[in-house]
């Protein structure tokens, strides 16, 4: 296992070096994405100003929410960007090369591509979290909780990315389904968390766990809520093992569709 992780880290390092070669494009992507993300803060801060405090959420909480979401998104889609390309790999037949690799399949696919713009998300997310922690005057204990919650939120995001990518093996051309499912998962994560109450909160926590990458970690950090931290731990690991299990099951349905057409 250690060997596999070493290999994954080596792949990520090489991917970063390769992206950084095109320095201007790399920097523009990073800065552009960071500016792009601030739009959501503007939107929801204006929302809070217009409609008032909803579900105990203030404008400051929006900054924290965007921080959590951006970091987990950035971590997964920078280092493990290959997961989002699975539908394309399957359709073009290039998935064969991963199947033939002696390395761990998921790790090999995940590290096959690097998302430069996701570095912008991470940078933006870190700034947001710092600002948020400063504004709510967090204690050292809360900082430690924040680190753990960021890890758990990223794990949820990774698990959901794997889970959604697994549909690629169930359809002839799954890119549309994949894109649609990813949209349904990600979009609510960027919305004002306080407005999710009752049935909506249940649906987007347990059935489509979008709130687990921003809203719930933020509330757990703010209120130092043990129940929410436990919920995050349980859900993160449950989703992780479930995604690995379902991915391995789905891969069995893969049929090579390469363009060489040899062997019929």
């Amino acid at each position: 296992m250690l060997k596999e992780i070493k290999f994954a880290l080596y792949s990520i390092k090489k991917n970063i070096q390769s992206s950084a070669e095109l320095r201007t494009s790399f920097l523009m992507n990073v800065i552009g994405m960071a500016i792009n993300n601030t739009a959501f803060i503007f939107l929801w801060v204006f929302f809070v100003k217009s409609v008032g405090i909803i579900g105990g959420w203030t404008a400051i909480d929006i900054i924290g929410l965007q921080g959590f979401t951006a970091i987990s998104y950035g971590i997964v889609l920078s280092g493990a960007n290959g997961l989002r390309k699975i539908p394309n790999y399957v359709v073009t037949g290039s998935f064969d090369r991963f199947m033939l690799s002696p390395k761990n399949l998921i790790l090999r696919i995940a590290t096959s591509s690097f998302g430069a713009s996701a570095i912008g998300d991470i940078t933006f997310g870190i700034i947001c979290i710092f600002v948020y922690c400063f504004l709510i005057h967090v204690s050292l204990y809360q900082i430690l909780i924040a680190v753990v919650l960021l890890f758990l939120a990223s794990l949820v995001f990774l698990s959901m990315t794997i889970l959604i990518s697994s549909v690629s093996f169930l359809f002839t051309d799954a890119s549309s389904v994949h894109e649609g499912m990813f949209e349904i998962f990600l979009t609510p994560a960027l919305f004002h968390g306080g407005a999710f109450q009752g049935v909506m909160r249940f649906v987007f926590t347990f059935l489509i766990p979008s709130l687990l990458i921003g809203t719930i970690p933020l509330e757990a950090l703010k209120d130092v809520s043990l129940i929410k931290i436990v919920l995050m731990i349980v859900m993160a690991f449950f989703l992780f093992f479930l995604s690995i299990f379902l991915f391995n099951r789905s891969v069995r349905r893969y049929e090579s569709s390469n363009f060489m057409t040899f062997g019929n």
């Binding site: 523009m28 992507n29 204006f46 217009s50 409609v51 949209e183 979009t187 999710f196 909506m200």
Partner: protein, 266 residues
């Protein structure tokens, strides 16, 4: 006349293509549900908490305004930027420029043809659904509503194509236009009244939305507001002004871009 025949043919072919491959329709429908649908539920809850009124605005005005924004986005006119970028990066631009049709108008018709099927279906079904679920505000029953909606929709489509084509043409200089695209797109998203409807804008933001090309490209979201019946001609004239300004800028920039182009073969 030739141009219209060509556009007609192109749109027909693309609509037929979309009928056979409904993947795009699926994504657009899911996207509308994920974004607009969830937002509408959230706003419903927010309005309920505030006793049915926020800033003197009722829920159905906000709901229809946001629906217009998201329905218009299924037309996918903004994709023209990335389409131009891909042509420049791949070198296909050389082939297009050698054709006896204007490259930019070809791209514009292509975008319209690609999105019109999803747009019509999603908009009609969404409108009917919304009508039965929440009804329509009084502002949508006035006589000028439909004709001005069509007029402002036409203007919004032209202005959106021009603004995003301007971003796309930048690919002749910087190749990767994604960062510029993201910033322009988010500005349109904020000023267009996507997540925060126009009716709830603070005064200064409302003014920026009114007098910038980014806000003007989404004036369809203003049509359900109370102020529409008195302000519609000012807004349509503003939109027209931005169409002229953007059109001239695009013409000049594109003329320079063609001279700048170098295709690397391969």
């Amino acid at each position: 006349m030739k141009e219209i025949r060509f556009a007609n043919k192109l749109i027909r072919i693309l609509v037929k293509d979309r009928l056979h491959y409904p993947g795009r329709l699926f994504v657009d429908t899911v996207s509308l549900i994920a974004r607009c649908g969830i937002l509408l539920i959230l706003y419903w809850y927010v309005f309920k908490l505030n006793g049915g009124l926020v800033n003197g605005v009722t829920y159905n005005i906000v709901a229809w305004s946001m629906f217009f924004y998201f329905a218009f986005s299924t037309l996918r006119l903004r994709d023209i930027s990335r389409s131009i970028m891909r042509d420049v990066q791949s070198g296909n631009i050389e082939v297009f420029l050698n054709r006896p049709v204007s490259y930019l108008s070809f791209k514009a018709w292509w975008q319209i043809g690609s999105g019109i099927y999803s747009f019509l279906l999603v908009t009609i079904l969404g409108s009917v659904g919304l009508f039965f679920i929440i009804g329509i505000p009084q502002t949508m029953t006035i006589g000028i509503f439909l004709p001005t909606l069509l007029l402002v929709f036409l203007g919004a489509s032209i202005l959106t194509l021009l603004v995003y084509a301007l971003v796309g043409v930048l690919a002749f200089w910087i190749e990767d236009i994604d960062p510029v695209y993201w910033i322009v797109d988010k500005t349109v998203m904020i000023l267009g009244g996507s997540y925060l409807p126009i009716a709830l804008f603070p005064t200064f933001l409302y003014k920026i939305a009114l007098y910038s090309p980014f806000g003007a490209s989404q004036f369809i979201t203003h049509t359900v507001n109370e102020s529409w019946k008195s302000d519609w001609y000012v807004l349509i004239l503003t939109q027209l002004l931005w169409i002229i300004v953007s059109g001239i800028t695009l013409y000049l920039l594109y003329s320079k871009a063609k001279n700048k182009l170098s295709v690397n073969g391969g």
